[in-house]
């Protein structure tokens, strides 16, 4: 097992937190705070792109790279390590966090209340999420997982709108409930004789978790982890915290919440539920697909009913995250050999949905800033006054409904291709989600942006340069990945192939 300390990941993870401390202690003046926060976010984006770009995917490349390791809690009882590292699964997600982190900072430019705190929490949040994606020690993973709650709770409850305290508390309670399940599972894994380690590299190798006498049945561990991640993803029926939290959060928090926090759930499912419990994942694939298809269709149907711009986008996330579960369910293959198409599609969906929904929330936030309403029937004809925002939302909307040439298409098709080989009929049902998605996206565009312009919007302005910048970053990402998806799929494939190799072949 690799040891050592390359330092790149540690810098990537903790740079935002260091920036937060710097802002907290040394920077004076709102304007300076914004600029420093943006500089930190840019620097961190560069670091994440370095991680992604330098990640080696050759035949003889190590599975986990950029290892940063030292003994954290010494002694025989705990053997907890500070252990960071990325593989092909997490490297793109680290990059995603860097991209959206910058977008969130830029989207906060217009914040006027408690500016310092806002940027401090935002940067702390980025460190926490980055830590989740790059931890290879279960205990450290859990610590980052919990750390993320604090800044998000603050962002929603202070800078939010509407029932912000309720929403923040709901978000908190749901996640902590999930964490409790996860913690039990982590403890049980650690206390299992013959395991006795938190090292996720060791835990995701063939044999570590199999056969040994275990404290709890492996199936139970699988479901304990699953509940923790399913709440985060979210999976029906554990999703109701999400629309409240998204709707009432400030723009930057919505972007981070939908863009990267949900992805922690999907990442956990792939890394832990599939990567460490492959046999159980295959055994319960039918349940995953069932829950996934329900989430896809149920989420889309409820989305059709939403009249609040942000709530509509939030519910569409339930539907689109359901696809992650459907893709993971592809490992219960019934027709032909197992392929990585479904898992790769699920991983791709994490990345593409992050950028697409981030862009949707940026646009929705701008609409709210300018018109002071998110109630779609009150909007209308905005395209004439805000062509940039309209174009951004239209591109995000088309990506969201799976238009080829934009990134959402690739992940959706891969998920469907993989899952159809496992469960053709449920997958065929899920395909109807693309019609429903077209329904709510185009309805939203028609009502908010097209049609006769309302008089009261006669002098609203389009996005300013600083507001358009994060949208442009995401548009470029969405189009770039849509046209050249191999830049991500090859990396994901490299990360997923060892996981696929663990899945027993020949089970029904």
């Amino acid at each position: 097992m690799d040891t050592g300390f390359s330092g790149l990941l540690t810098a990537t993870v903790f740079l935002p937190a260091a920036g937060a401390v710097f802002i907290l202690l040394l920077v004076r003046g709102d304007r300076n705070i914004r600029v420093v926060a943006a500089m930190v976010a840019v620097a961190d984006l560069v670091l994440t792109l370095l991680v992604f770009g330098l990640f080696s995917r050759g035949d003889d490349a190590a599975r986990f790279q950029f290892i940063d390791q030292f003994t954290w809690i010494p002694g025989e009882t705990l053997r907890a390590n500070y252990l960071l590292g990325v593989d092909g699964l997490s490297a793109p997600l680290v990059a995603l966090t860097g991209i959206l982190g910058l977008c969130a900072v830029l989207a906060s430019w217009r914040i006027e209340t408690r500016v310092r705190e806002h940027f401090v929490w935002l940067l702390v949040l980025q460190t926490a999420v980055m830590g989740v994606f790059s931890s290879l020690d279960l205990l450290l993973f859990f610590l980052f997982w919990e750390l993320e709650l604090v800044p998000m709770y603050m962002l929603i409850s202070i800078w939010g709108t509407g029932r912000k305290e309720y929403s923040a508390m709901k978000f908190l309670m749901f996640t902590i409930l999930g964490s409790a399940f996860m913690l039990v599972a982590i403890v049980a894994v650690f206390l299992t004789p013959d395991v006795g380690t938190f090292d996720m590299r060791a835990l995701s190798t063939q044999g570590t978790m199999l056969g040994a006498g275990v404290l709890l049945p492996l199936g139970a561990l699988f479901w304990l982890f699953f509940i923790g991640f399913a709440i985060k993803l979210p999976v029906w029926p554990l999703h109701t915290w999400l629309p409240d939290a998204h709707t009432n959060a400030p723009t930057a928090a919505s972007v981070m919440l939908a863009g990267v926090l949900l992805k922690m759930g999907g990442y956990g499912l792939l890394r832990i539920n599939v990567g460490m419990f492959p046999a159980q994942a295959q055994q319960f694939a039918w349940a995953l697909v069932t829950l996934g298809v329900i989430s896809v269709l149920y989420g889309a149907v409820v989305t059709l009913r939403q009249t609040d711009l942000k709530r509509l986008i939030a519910y569409s996330s339930v539907s689109h995250m359901g696809l992650v579960l459907v893709g993971i369910g592809s490992i219960g293959v019934t027709h032909g050999a197992l392929t990585s198409a479904g898992l790769n599609g699920a991983a791709m969906q994490l990345f593409t949905h992050g950028t697409i929904t981030g862009l949707l929330f940026l646009g929705a936030g701008l609409v709210y800033d300018k018109t002071h309403t998110r109630y779609i029937p009150d909007l209308g004809g905005l395209a004439g006054r805000m062509p940039l925002v309209a174009a951004g939302l239209l591109i995000a909307g088309f990506a969201s409904l799976g238009l080829p040439g934009l990134s959402g298409f690739v992940s959706e098709v891969l998920v469907f291709l993989g899952a159809f080989r496992a469960y053709p009929w449920p997958t065929a049902l899920a395909v109807f989600g693309i019609v429903l998605a077209a329904g709510y996206i185009l309805w939203m565009m028609e009502r908010a942006f097209f049609g006769v312009r309302r008089d009261r919007f006669a002098d609203i302005s389009d996005a300013s340069l600083i507001e358009a910048l994060p949208m442009a970053i995401l548009v470029i990402t969405i189009v770039g990945v849509g046209i050249y998806p191999s830049i991500l799929t090859d990396v994901f494939e490299f990360g997923l192939s060892p996981i696929v190799a663990l899945i027993p072949v020949g089970l029904p």
Partner: protein, 684 residues
Amino acid sequence: MVSEASIWAILLLPLAAFVVIGLVVRPFLNRYAWVSGILLIIALAAALALSVLTLDAVIRSGEPHFEGRQWLDVGGAVIELALLIDPLTAIMLVVVTGVSLMVQIYSLGYMRGDPSYARYFAYMALFTASMLGLVLSANIIVLYAFWELVGVSSYLLIGFWHERPAAAAAAKKAFLITRIGDVGFLIAILYLFLQGDRFAAAGLNPFHIPDIWQAAQPLAAGGAVLGGVGLTWLTLGIFSGAMGKSGQFPLHSWLPDAMEGPTPVSALIHAATMVAAGIFLVARFYPVFQAAQHALTVVALVGGFTALFAATMGLVMNDIKRVMAYSTVSQLGYMMAALGLGAFPAAIFHLVTHASFKALLFMVAGNVNHATGTFNMRYMGGLWRRMPLTYALVLIGGLSLVGIIPFAGFWSKDEILSAAWSDGWHGGGPAALWAGKLTLVFLLTGVLLTAFYTFRMIYMTFHGEFRGGAEQERADLAAEGQPNTGHLGEVHLAESPIFMWFPMVLLGVAAVFSGYLLNPQWVEEFGIPKHWITEFLIEGLKSTPLAGVVHLEVPAFNRWMAAVSTVIALAGIGLASVLYLRRSAASKDPLEAIKPVHALLSRKYFVDELYEDVIVRRSFYNGMVRAVDWVDRVVVDGVVDAIGLVSRNLGPNFLSRFQTGEVQAYGVALTLGSLLILLGFLVF
């Protein structure tokens, strides 16, 4: 031989025009928006020249083969960007670039003064490029990608005047209805991957189109990879995509609404891009359909029924563009029926001739609109005096549409009718035979109706007395107290500028001669062999790995069928002349005399009401969606609240005890809590 780069250029030239107009002209040079039209026209002229060279190369030296470039390789799903150049593609390339070029030249004049001039040409470039990509693709997933891009460009163009609610709604409707069809197409693709291991065992790629052809053929080593019920469902899935795009019943209702887009857009949609895509799709997978007789029977019946069904609605429309729209749906039905009846070359032949005369007829509608300010034929009349050139062109286009010798439509329609008449078209059982006869009845009745609505349109527009145009319509609407929703323009009765009539004259020439020249029925003319396009397309199929499997015959010219269809068409024209030629300006439409029928037809058989009100609004939206939403709020979220995680009722009181307003305190509490959990863990 033609080089690979020059074929890619056919696709990339309009795509580059899209990128340049969208990223350079529109944002930075919008004052010089006229550049965008010129840019696209230059790109398309070059693409047309290259397309003609490609066609010539295919004729002279057969199909070129090019290696694909890998686009995606994930878990055994290998998706390649590859060109498929066969006679079908070569013909389509010329049709698409040719018609699009004519439409763009026409647009220079028609769209002049529109504030969104650059945006218009950007969308047009994307539309044309998408269609070209669709035609060129050798990979079914890439084809599907361009297929969707065609859909989205049509969405953008139908909704081009997005400030008009009707246009925005029509765009949405077009996208949604075609997408319902696309679900079937996508599932068909998924089915191919489901059979991926069997494909691989035969050394085939399940996404490579020639491999899919081969997989459907029983000759392939070890029996067909695809077969039985699975094959039937596969082809029906592909057909459902084609039904959506080509407006086949019951997915036809978006096409007439799509008239809300600018008229040149309609010309392009109805002639060469969008709706032709569905016909092309079935033709592209023809070797697979041939192995699925039941699917072909369905195709024939759906096509035949649509041909008749749409024509009936065309009888009573008063909007000139809507008459054309139903005419297109009907003509697409003819093409689809031809495909179903095994007359694959006849379908493509008709697609080509139809492209020329339907683009022309839409441009006529555009000219008429420029002159009268309205599309409502009740306010037109007598225009032949003021617009003699347009009148001459509408006669050419109309006679071609009706199918009168020697105009182009006559030859292609005759091939379809002959195919329906001959019953040796495939090895189908009695059901297929019966379906063939029924289809023939549909199609022949359709000829009568086509002749009637075409000449009703010509008489109402160009004959009789002028009935005041937009000015009169505006006055009438005001008198009835109705809002002006028709976006009426000004009246200036005159011939249109050269940019508009020049491409029309070229299309008019094609509408006269293309039928006979592409497919001479009697003798070789100008060096063109007899039945040229038919032979060419059949050779295209035979040159695939399917030699010996494809059973297509070159139909002999059927004099009887030609005579019968001509008599029927003349009867239709005669009937229209009796009813409409000498009608006084004030009288009502004679068809209104048969009230219930007229109401049924002019309300489009209440299909819109059925879909939009009964199915979507009442059953789906106010029924199912509402119920699920209720469950979500009251049951799923209700349980959460009831458990007391965050109680809505208790919430304020309960929480307020802790709500000191000091949010930092929560933060500290939270952090401490998390640490406490960890601490407990450490001690444990």
